[in-house]
Subunit: 389 residues, 2 copies
């Protein structure tokens, strides 16, 4: 680590993964006061520069100092546990998702999926892994042609359109980001799916109707722990008794707020829940948790792909965006790779159902079969009825 | 439903699944006062008789009245949430498991596994499904030859011996039931496995050493919620940082005590935990939950097999055991089929690891492959390290 005057302040015993240069005394002072917040601020402003592997540096720091960034924990708690009201939700989502579709298109996959991919086979491209993720989700809720699905938080519509196209279902998909919904509607029109996928510019609280599946991929982080019981009620009124639901979310091993800098600069109002916190969604109505899968290493891999594409586009970005914005996003992507690789963040997929639903998968075999055969599952279900006594 | 004088007290709208006869006025009074406890008492004493399908009757009751048996909830709470001390633990376990190996041998499988089986293929026999369960558990913790395993609560030793024989590992297995441990040691001797499987007549709290896997199948129900943090500490000190652990337990969708009659007559001190309650085990040390599978319908099926064998042996039992004992056990088995079929009880298998462990399975594919190939998994693990940035 180098200070502004070239002094070497600290040389750790472990082999160096990156060199850090701190531009001035004020930056160092702020860093010592509140490292979790000011490292991000100073990096974005160019007052801290890093020579070497930034992701790896973050990972080493996260592993050594899990409390990193926790100084700001208390004043922030109200906010992240808080009651994300409808209007606050709109403001927060606008901050992150209405940056401009063009910006995200440069480094996401063709389907514009801004959530963890599933690298079923290690050699997969990002495009393939995002399709594998969508198939994994569709298989987990056992989609069958003719069924209906509600999706809470649909992003640019990639999953909703895929479910309709590949699994023959009808989808109602909700999102409060106007730019994303407009993009999704155009795509539905273009693909001739407007009659089977309805994109609704509204909040999950306004979901109406009853469906065979309830799916939400990458929205729960923004819902706010204080709203989980309400989400449980929305699920209860909209999921048929014999249906299956799935929540896909960034999570924690134990309750903690998001890194304060990321929460402020990147995801206002976001809080990745622990499994304990998620139980608020299910316990009120005694819903059954059927399957939890933690695929955090897949998110580290997904983020590495995004980062690679992001860095490939740096010159283009520099023509359009200011340097501070670019450095902010770069740090967010590199730091996120580190968080998932170091195990400070998790990625949970949780499958659940009404407690009395016996039309649940007998085993998880069909998730891993070469061909998806939902029809075969129906036979196994029959075993759920008593045979003799 | 018939009363002692032949009056028909209640005729439900749904088609009858069984006829109930109540022998006298006192029985009815007690039943109304505390149905959850006195139904079992009166059935065991023959003061209530059931003509028809008892499991199905229980299932209908559980589905219609989930609060059935909850009147005794409060005075019992202290007990089931309670601090199951070492001496109380020994007393409780003795009550249930030292009934005599001969009794259990009559209706369990050849391996004497007294826990939920896994009917991987619907046509499996109980024997096959118990072997499939052991393989499922061994694959979930990715056993490899030469590794070491600690098992907390090993029953009659079936799983410990299987792991050593089929997966080439060394096992230390703990149990506080003397009869079970003696049986297990004899079997190890007989199979020539005494040098690789050590059966220890002691409590899980006394586990020493470090192991590649921590496995516990069907013990957690007896541990007591108040001891979960302590169990987490035992896991933390005995599971290697790159190891995997598995807990297999009866559970609940939300916290509730066990049926009061079953807790008193069958499993003193037992309490099936909710997932929220189980988080006490993992959260203190920030352990990662990697995989949760709920296979409750497999337990309904397992219990149907046990019940069938139990009923096949009724005449033999009548020579050796008193009628009240036989009726008690019959009701317990029939009621348990109903609880798992109705969804009032769950069966969770939870896989977990140290938070920084990146030697975790990349996907769950290997659980469902025709041949178990742990070697292949090692390649995928390499993906956990950053590739470029």
């Amino acid at each position: 680590m180098s200070l502004w005057d070239g002094q070497l302040a600290y040389r750790p015993d472990t082999p160096a993964v990156a060199g850090i240069t701190i531009a001035n005394r004020g930056t160092l002072a702020k860093l010592l006061l509140s490292p979790g917040y000011h490292f991000g601020e100073a990096y974005a402003a160019g007052r801290i520069t890093v020579d070497g592997d930034l992701s790896r540096l973050c990972e080493v720091v996260y592993r050594s100092y899990p409390e990193f960034g926790m100084l700001n924990r208390f004043w922030r708690r109200m906010q992240s546990l808080g009651k994300s009201s409808l209007s606050a939700a709109r403001r927060n989502i606008h901050h992150h998702y209405d940056l401009g579709n063009e910006f995200y298109r440069r480094w996401l996959d063709d389907n514009m999926l801004y959530t963890c991919a599933y690298f079923r086979d290690p050699g997969m491209t990002l495009e393939e892994a995002q399709i594998a993720k969508m198939d994994h989700v569709c298989r987990k809720v056992r989609l069958m042609p003719g069924q209906t699905v509600v999706e809470a938080g649909c992003g640019w519509g990639g999953l909703a359109l895929y479910m309709a196209r590949k699994y023959g279902v009808r989808v109602r998909a909700y999102n409060i980001s106007r730019e994303q919904i407009e993009y999704a509607r155009e795509r539905a029109e273009h693909e001739g799916l407007s009659n089977r996928v309805e994109f609704i510019h509204d909040d999950w609280r306004t979901i109406t109707g009853q469906y065979d599946a309830f799916v939400s991929v990458g929205m729960l982080e923004h819902v706010g722990i204080g709203n989980f019981r309400r989400l449980g009620e929305v699920i209860h009124r909209s999921l048929r008794k014999q249906g299956l639901g799935l929540l896909h979310t960034i999570g924690r091993n134990a309750a903690a707020p998001l890194d304060p800098w990321i929460e402020r600069q990147i995801f206002p109002g976001a809080c990745p829940p622990s499994l304990r916190q998620m139980m608020d969604i299910f316990e009120t109505r005694q819903y059954s948790v059927l399957d939890v899968e933690n695929i955090r290493l897949h998110y580290a891999e997904t983020l590495r792909h995004w980062l690679e594409r992001f860095l490939d586009n740096l010159d283009l970005f520099r023509d359009e965006l200011d340097e501070r914005f670019i450095r902010t996003w770069r740090l967010y992507l590199e730091g996120s790779v580190a968080s998932f690789a170091a195990g400070t963040l998790q990625l949970f997929q949780v499958v659940f159902s009404h407690p009395e639903n016996n039309h649940i998968p007998w085993t998880r075999q069909s998730l891993y079969a070469a061909e998806y055969q939902p029809a075969l599952l129906a036979d196994a279900i029959a075993t759920g009825t008593p045979r003799s006594s």
